[in-house]
Assembly symmetry: C2
Homo-oligomer: 364 residues x 2
Amino acid sequence: MSETASPPPTPPRPNGRAKPRQSDIARAAGVSQATVSLVLRGATTGVVLAPETRRRVLRAAEDLGYVPDPVATRLAAARNGMLGLYTFSTTFPTDVAHSYYPVLVGVEEEAAAQGQDLILFTGASRAAGTTSDAAAVRRVRAADGCLFFGRHVPEDPIRRLSEDGFPFVYIGRREEPGISHVGADYVSASAEVAARLAALGHHRVRYLRENDDAPASTDRERGVVDGARGAGLETVGLVERTDGGDVDARLARWRDEGVTAVVTEETDTGAALSGLTAAVARAGLSCPGDLSLALLGTPAAAPAAPVTGLAGAISGFGVPMREMGRAAVRLLLDLIEGSAAPQSHLLACEPVAGATLGPPHPGR
Amino acid sequence: MSETASPPPTPPRPNGRAKPRQSDIARAAGVSQATVSLVLRGATTGVVLAPETRRRVLRAAEDLGYVPDPVATRLAAARNGMLGLYTFSTTFPTDVAHSYYPVLVGVEEEAAAQGQDLILFTGASRAAGTTSDAAAVRRVRAADGCLFFGRHVPEDPIRRLSEDGFPFVYIGRREEPGISHVGADYVSASAEVAARLAALGHHRVRYLRENDDAPASTDRERGVVDGARGAGLETVGLVERTDGGDVDARLARWRDEGVTAVVTEETDTGAALSGLTAAVARAGLSCPGDLSLALLGTPAAAPAAPVTGLAGAISGFGVPMREMGRAAVRLLLDLIEGSAAPQSHLLACEPVAGATLGPPHPGR
DNA sequence: TCAAGAACCTAATACGTATTAACGTAACTT
DNA sequence: AAGTTACGTTAATACGTATTAGGTTCTTGA
């Protein structure tokens, strides 16, 4: 299934080497390399070129098929029109592909719209060497600036970037002061969900969150608790964490306790949600018939194990991932151009009506 | 929804500048910059450093928090550990995201596995300037090599790359000799589908193909025709092209003509398939009850307009997109390392049994 | 006609690292 | 003791572009 093709003919190049350089153009046009640079770069400060010279240089550049070397451009302290996107993933990228994909789409869209190329750095890269996080993060300096993306991020190497004045933006909320991020307003959106439950008449509710302390989870918890308090829901025992234990037992206990609604969150792994829905299905319960269910966050587009026993979409809110990607690119460009100080943006989440919320139906 | 954060404290750097360089280390360790490079790079050809010197240099590098500059590295050495991925898309990238996505996943997987980073070039980029295709394609030289991806590609600029000896690989079959590509064996797979129809007892069949001449479409047509001839199907009037006309009328005509099975192809737009299935649904036909249906290619993962009226998957074959991405990366790396001549790989497609094929049921 | 500008261009250098030829120096041989 | 080797390090240079401080020629005004 493999066929070797004859190599293409290689026409002689003026230089003997593959790529024509500015100095080749200079020779052809009878000017200096500096002049070529000035012509091709567009007039800089005050320097004026004779129209005739410009023409000659441009002509020669065209003839030779000149291609500016982005690396050299970058080394010579200018921009190279490339933005980095560094993805930290605990698991292999493909596993979380679906839940992160919309962000990538947004980033790509906006980057293309702004005429920037994108360098994809993968956290797992360079696995061959004895590389630390630090070494991995270093590579991003090849770009004009970088976006960081993922729930968990190695902080030290990135602090170093910050100290060096390298422009970067987190996608997702961060706690560290002085660094830029574009996040979603999980607090408000989560509070709104709690309020929705209260409005339906629920009183005893459980919020099942992931057992880690990523800002996204912390924010949601805060929103749920604040919202519950504000709406008059019971807050004692409201929050529980996934602990790898028996979800079925947990669900049964909740029913015994008179819980009428459960809220959980969607993260990159989707563990909390999938575990919960599976348990609900095993218990033979329906939503919202027996139990109301709300989800904080957008579920993956095409889950490997589709949620069974649920009629429509899960109620809660959606994360504006695509718009976050776009906003992050815009902010990063502002930082690179120096036209903005480090700053943070929180985007509003969109409520999802869904089909899993209803009035309370106490179990047993 | 925006908050300005205080800038982080900037600790004094030995150099007065932001990033320590090899020459800073050299000064601190009392050696030359060249020695620093040799130490940090690992022993090159025959050059041996005194263990004591190594220690001093490494120590100094550690103390100063040295970070090699990838850009300078790339300029000095030939490689920079980055592969380009250039996507040509007729429409906006996002529109075809789903159907191309598996390839991107494969590329990213393999690139990460090989310790390479990825530069995403988008054809629409640099829209601001008066840039030609040529100028757009030039940018890929920032990488060590490049993958090209898309049904239609500007040939001239790429020929130039080829002449310059720049390593690149097409994903998808190409006609041009002497350039490398990784494609799918549409001919064999399409012929197999035709044979399957014949085995079920069909005789009068139609193949509806896209109205363009991308190699992928050409190959499929050849496969269908060859396979039909080999299996004894009627070949007169077998092939038709989409022409933007009335699909319903076309379908009705087929029924009148006694056609019992229809084959179509999936491309980046998905136009042929979606038009056809919509017409089938409007005509109140079921597959395979009234009409057998086969598809050449993998349908997009999550079609915007889900196929209605079809019980299960559409029969035909699937394109190994992810594996094509992986294979293309491997081939590109071989080319870059000079360990391989330009060559082509055709990957086998996987038959999809599906639920839309059955014995012939003449209409009317 | 001379000096002062203006207009155009170039020489020189920086950017940070990799590589190679060459240079001392110390150890070893005879 | 002189010559040879081996060893450890460095000077020099390349990579390709950007930038700035001049240097030449050309106008222009008096």
